[in-house]
Structures are given as C-alpha cells and as structure tokens.
C-alpha cells in the first residue's frame, strides 16, 4: 500500500466524518465545524497529490492549501457572524428553527 493511497483513505475518512457532522447536527456551530473538516480533507488531498505527484519540486500544492485556508478562515468568520445574527433573533442557534427566510 503506497503512501498516496493511505493519505487518500485518511482524507476520505476525514471528509466522511465532516459530512456526517454537517448533515446530522442541529447546532449551527457544529455544522460549521463539519464543513471545516470537509475543507481540510480536501486540503489533505491537495498536499498528497502534490507530494506524491509527478513534480514535487514546485510548491503548487502548498500554495493552493494556503489559499484554501485563507478562504476557509474568511468563510468561518462570515459563518460565525451569521450564527450570532441568528442567535440575536431567536435566542438559540438550532438550525431546525431558523426557517424564517423561507419564501
């Protein structure tokens, strides 16, 4: 079993955990947490394909990951701000109750 396969198995497991968390949790923060896990599973894939790919010399994979982390941080900030706004309106952060935007 080569290291690439191992890395991919790990990232798949991480993604599955994140997906399950995002789908099954009712708490908005935990859903955001799941989404972060899925993002980082993707980052692991970037690094693995770069490290065990045909040209490991150029640092393309690391740069991609850096961008993704920056974007994820911004996304987390926006998500948390939304969560706070939702909390101000309904005094909790349960997503099942946050249906007011339904047309």
């Amino acid at each position: 079993m080569n290291p690439l396969t191992l890395c991919l198995l790990f990232s798949a497991a991480l993604f599955a955990v994140g997906l399950a968390g995002a789908l099954c949790r009712g708490n908005a923060i935990l859903v955001l947490l799941g989404i972060e896990l899925m993002l980082n599973a993707a980052n692991v894939n970037f690094l693995a394909f770069w490290r065990f790919g045909p040209s490991p010399a150029a640092a393309t994979g690391a740069v991609f990951v850096l961008f993704a982390i920056a974007v994820a941080a911004a996304e987390a900030a926006v998500g948390l701000a939304l969560v706070i706004a939702v909390y101000r309106h309904q005094r909790n952060i349960r997503l099942e109750e946050a249906v007011r935007l339904k047309g």
Binding site: L19, L23, A28, L95, A98, V99, G103
Partner: protein, 674 residues
C-alpha cells in the same frame, strides 16, 4: 336761422348719443340718463325747428346730402339725408311729442328702479325715428325702421317679468317682422330694377320721374305693372308697422308696455312711420296710375285696406274694457284713415291727420297714464269711474283729446284733419265704398270715446283704487296741458280756408278755398258725430254703471256681437288656428324629422359602435385574457409545487446537496468509466 341738409344727421345723432350714455349708466344713475335723454331731445327739437324753417324757405326743393356707404363692384351703396317740408314737419312733430313724453316719463317712472334703461330705450327709439324721417335713402330708412322696431320690442317688454309683457313684445316683433320682410323684398326688387335706393339724387333717384317711368313701363306676371308689385310689397311694411288690417293684432297687445311708451311709440310716432313711408314713396305708389290697362292699382288696394282698418278698429274699440286697449284700437282705426287718405291720393291729408292725431293721441295716452298712475295701476274702465272731480286737470285735457279724436266740429284739430281725409275720399273716382266705411267709423269713434270718458271720469268710483285717486304732480300734467293746446290749435294749419300745410308739403301755393267746400259731406259727418256722442250719452252718461261687475248695456242687448267685438273679432283665434297651427305643424314635422330621421341615423351609428365595442370586449376577454389567465395559472401552480420543497431548513438543503453529490459521483463513475 336755418339748418343745412348736410347737418341733418345731427338730429338723430343727439338722441343716439343719449342712448349710449343711458346704456353705460349704472342703475342708480337714472337722473343722468333721464337728463341726457331730455337734453338730447331738446337739442334735436331746436335743430328740427331750424331744419323746418330751411325747408319752408324753399318748399318745392328736395335738398339732399348723399354719401357713399361702401363700394359694391361697379356701383356703390349710397346713403343720404333729405330735407323737404315733409321731413321738416315730421322732425318737429316727433321731437316735440317725444320731449313732452320724456318729461312726463320723469313723473311716471319715478318709482321704477330701471328708469335709466327706460330712458336709454326711449332715446334709441327717438334716434331711429328721426333717422327714418330724415333719410334720403330707402336703405337708411329701412335700417332706422328696424331700429325703431327693436326699440319698440324692448319697450313693450320693458316689464319683462310679466309674462303678458314678454309675450306681447314677442308678438309685436314677429308680426311687424312679417311686414318688414315684404318691405325688404320690395326694396331689393326696387334696387334690382333701378340700381339705386336713393329717393332723390338729382334726377337719378328712385322716386324721380326717370326711374318711375322705367318701373311703370315693365310688367311682371299676370300683366301686373312692376311699380304696382314693388308698391304693394312696400305697403306690406307699412301694414305691419302701422297696424293695418290684417296685421293689426300686435298693437293692442303692445299696451303691456309702460304708458309713456304707448303714447310715444304705439300712438304718436312709430305707428305713423308706415304712413310716413307711404307719403314718402307716394310718387312710386302713384306711378301705375298713368299706365293704361293696368289690372290693379296699388293705391286702390291701399285705400280699401285703410277703410277696412278704420271701421274694424273703431268697431272693436266699442267693446273693449281696458282703458289702453280702447285707445289702441282707436289708434288702429285712425291709422286706417291715414292709409285711406294716401290710397285716395291725398297724402297731404294723411300727413295732416298724422300730425293732429300724434298730438291728441299722445294727449289721450298720457292722460290715460295719468289716470293709471293715480289709480294704482288700475286700468279696467269697469272698475274706474268718478275721477273727474278728483283729477280736474287730467279730466279737462283728456276730454279735449277725446273730442279731438271724436271729431267734434270746428274747434278741435281732429275734426279738420278727418274732414280733409273724408273730403279726399269723397272725391275718389274709383269707388265710394271707402268713404262709406270711413263715415261709419266716424260715428263709432264718437260713440266709443264718449263711452270711455263716461266710464272713466263720470259716475261714481267702482273700486277703492279709483276712490283713492288724486291728481298727479306738475311734471305729468304740464305736458298734458301743452298737448291739449296743440290738439286744438294744430287743426288750423290745414283748414280748407287756409290750406297752409298742404301747400307747404307739395311746394305749391294753394289758393284759399271756401271753408266748407262739400256742405253735404260736412253735414253728414257732423250728424254722425252727434249721433255717436248722443248714443254714448244715452247709454253711459244718463245711466252710469253702478258696480264693477254690472254688464255693459250693449252686452245685454246684443250679446253675440258684443262677445265677438270684445274678443277682437277673433283675429287672434283665427291666427292661432291657421298660422299658429301651421307653425306648430311645421315644428312638429321638423321635430319628427330630427327625432326619427337624423336621430335615427345617429342612434343606429351609436348602436353599430356599441356592437363593435361588445365584440372587441368579448375577443379581449375570451381570447387574449383567457390565454394569459391560463398561462399565469399554470405558473402559479408550478410555483406552488416547487415552493413546497422550500422548507427554509438549512440541514434539509445540505442533505439534498449531499445526496445529489453522491448520485453525481456514482453517475460519473459508471458513465465515464474513469
């Protein structure tokens, strides 16, 4: 001091100016309007006297001042002023009578709030009448004729709040308009034949021998001489204006106007305009006498119409019980005498009678006005009575006027002028019927005037209004006295012994004849006057009416005749049954035409448009709208179906996303093989 003919226009211009002042005066400025009217007519009187003296200095000359009104293709329409003795005496008569009546109106209209308007209309009337008299052009005469008709309409309807006055004004206007139409046609025909409407223009005027010979030399349909046809049309105008049979019906109704108006317009001056017109165009009327074998002479028609009117008016006056209507019918009768005189060729006698009649009829009407004013607008002679001791001056002057009208011999003007008319009629070679009718009228005139005086002034008062009457102020009685003096003295300017007026009018020096030329005729007429007055005395003075409701002694004797005469011999009813019904029928026809033919066309067009509208609406509703409605209903249904899936729950969305992702991956895996 004389007045040149070029300045003759000032005489009508002054009252016209006063009318303008009166028209611009507000209601409260009645003193200004009345002052302007009286000042203007006084000025006109002075100028008229000057004009008369000029005219009398050269009585045979027709002095003219013509000027072009406007160019008309090759020719021009000319107007002008004419000064001859006829114009002169008429100017003096109109201004003098008008001045007295204006002064009388000051008293009569004192309580009327619209006196300013009244004086404006009076001045307008005087301006029209003076222009009519002074006109050298028949066109200008016609214009003034219509101004006079308009003023008459306005003054009859002066109290237009009364329906009777409004109706009388309308009737007078329409009936005289009928005559005016004939006059206008006659003038147009005359213009067509001769090319001018100037009376005298140095040999080229339409009343001068050259034009008359041309007119008399042509015939129209049926051998009728052209001048006869034109003369009869012009006479039609005189029939309307002078209240001749059969267009006399407007004159009695015209008495709805204020009494000074009745005196000025409907007794003394305006109704005389027709007679004046006949005297003015007398050369034209007489032109066909020279034509051998003419089937009809215009003057014959005129004489018979005049005689019929003279008798008819006198007969109807016998049975009237309204003070002013008696006088109105007597005016019709007297105008008939004047027309008769013109018809038998004695137009100077007609003018003589016109002058004396103007004087004593103005006197009678103003006397009637004085009575009416004193008796609180009671003018039914059955309710008056016993006024003689209460109103001595009015009674004395009214009696003078009544005797002048009745033709009491020797002292009164009416006698001399009536004798002149009858004498001319006796000398008429065509027929003696007009003379007989006129003589019968003389007896009736004496009878009804005796009746009138007895009913109004003698006996005992039969109504509280009459019992409370008292004499009026000097502003009303002084004109009466002056007119009474005129009603006596005016007769002496035309007696057979000194025929000054006739000589002046014709421009020849007539030799004084014996005072009584035709002794038999004179005796007959005096006897008839005596018989008429005696019968009146027998019936009305000997047994004065006791109560206002007691029947007239004649009504008891001949009720059928009395009813017919009291109703004016049914002329009004006859006109209502013929002309009125024809008019109504035509109106109904026009109405039906409008309603069914034009209205039907309009309605069917409307129905067509409405039908097109309904069609369009159906197409809109069932075609276009149904399509749009169906489409939008479909959209709405789809939207409802989709929006059911929009729960708003984020976890649900995420799950759907995940499932879709998995499905996508599985599909790619299977389908791509890579």
């Amino acid at each position: 001091m004389g007045l040149a003919v070029q300045h003759l226009g000032f005489i009508p211009a002054l009252p016209l100016l006063a009318a303008a002042v009166g028209a611009l005066t507000p209601r409260r400025g009645r003193t200004l309007a009345a002052g302007a009217a009286i000042a203007a007519i006084s000025g006109s009187l002075l100028l008229a006297v000057a004009a008369l003296s000029t005219a009398l200095a050269a009585p045979a000359v027709h002095a003219t001042a013509n000027f072009a009104w406007f160019d008309l293709g090759t020719g021009e329409v000319a107007l002008g002023w004419l000064l001859d003795p006829l114009t002169g005496v008429m100017l003096v008569m109109v201004t003098a009578i008008a001045l007295l009546i204006f002064v009388f109106s000051l008293g009569y209209m004192r309580e009327d709030p619209n006196a300013a308007r009244f004086f404006c209309f009076l001045s307008l009337f005087a301006a029209g009448m003076l222009g009519l008299v002074a006109a050298n052009s028949l066109l200008l005469l016609f214009v003034c004729w219509e101004i006079v008709g308009l003023a008459s309409y306005l003054l009859i309807g002066f109290w237009f709040q009364r329906p009777a006055a409004a109706a009388a004004a309308k009737k007078a206007f329409l009936v005289t308009r009928l005559g005016d139409l004939a006059l206008l046609l006659g003038l147009l025909w005359l213009y067509d034949a001769g090319g001018t409407l100037l009376c005298y223009a140095g040999g080229a005027g339409c009343l001068e021998p050259a034009a008359l010979a041309a007119l008399a030399g042509r015939t129209v349909a049926g051998g009728l001489v052209l001048s006869t046809a034109v003369s009869l049309l012009i006479f039609g105008g005189a029939v309307g204006k002078s209240g001749q049979f059969p267009l006399h019906v407007w004159l009695p109704d015209a008495m709805e106007g204020p009494t000074p108006v009745s005196a000025l317009i409907h007794a003394a001056t305006m109704v005389a305009a027709g007679v004046f017109l006949l005297a003015r165009v007398h050369p034209l009327l007489a032109a066909d006498l020279a034509v051998a074998g003419a089937p009809l002479h215009a003057l014959t028609v005129i004489a018979f119409i005049g005689a019929i009117t003279a008798l008819l008016g006198a007969a109807i006056a016998v049975a009237q019980h309204d003070l002013k209507r008696v006088l109105a019918y007597s005016t019709i009768s007297q105008l008939g005498y004047m027309t008769l005189a013109v018809g038998v060729g004695a137009w100077t006698a007609a003018i003589f009678h016109l002058l004396t009649h103007a004087c004593f009829k103005a006197l009678l009407f103003l006397g009637a006005g004085s009575v009416i004013h004193a008796a609180h607008h009671e003018q039914d002679i059955r309710r008056l009575g016993g006024l003689a001791p209460r109103m001595r001056r009015t009674f004395a002057t009214f009696a003078v006027g009544a005797m002048a009208l009745a033709g009491v011999p020797f002292l009164f003007a009416g006698f001399w002028s009536k004798e002149a008319v009858l004498h001319a009629a006796a000398g008429w070679p065509v027929s003696c019927l007009p003379l007989d009718l006129g003589l019968a009228g003389v007896a009736l005139t004496a009878f009804y005037m005796t009746r009138l005086v007895a009913e109004v002034f003698l006996g005992a008062p039969r109504a509280p209004e009459a019992a409370r009457a008292h004499e009026n102020a000097a502003v009303m009685t002084v004109p009466l006295v002056l007119l009474a003096v005129g009603a006596v003295l005016l007769g002496f300017i035309g007696t057979p012994a000194w025929p000054w007026l006739q000589g002046a009018l014709t421009g020849t020096r007539l030799k004084p004849g014996p005072l009584f030329e035709n002794g038999l005729l004179l005796a007959a007429s005096i006897l008839l006057v005596a018989a008429g007055m005696g019968a009146g005395w027998w019936l009305y003075v000997r047994h004065p009416r006791r109560t206002a409701t007691a029947p007239d002694p004649l009504a008891a004797g001949t009720p059928t005749w009395w009813r017919a005469l009291a109703g004016g011999l049914g002329f009004d009813a006859a006109y209502a049954a013929t002309v009125g019904r024809l008019t109504l029928w035509l109106a109904a026809l026009a109405d039906g035409f409008d309603r069914w033919i034009w209205g039907g066309a309009v309605r069917s067009a409307a129905a067509l448009a409405e039908f097109a509208g309904v069609l369009g609406r159906q197409a809109d509703e069932d075609g276009l709208n149904a399509g749009f409605d169906g489409a939008s209903e479909g959209l709405r249904r789809t939207g409802r179906a989709y929006s059911r899936r929009q729960t708003g729950g984020v976890p649900g969305y995420l799950r759907a996303l995940a499932v879709a992702f998995v499905v996508l991956v599985v599909l790619l895996w299977w389908g791509g093989g890579r």
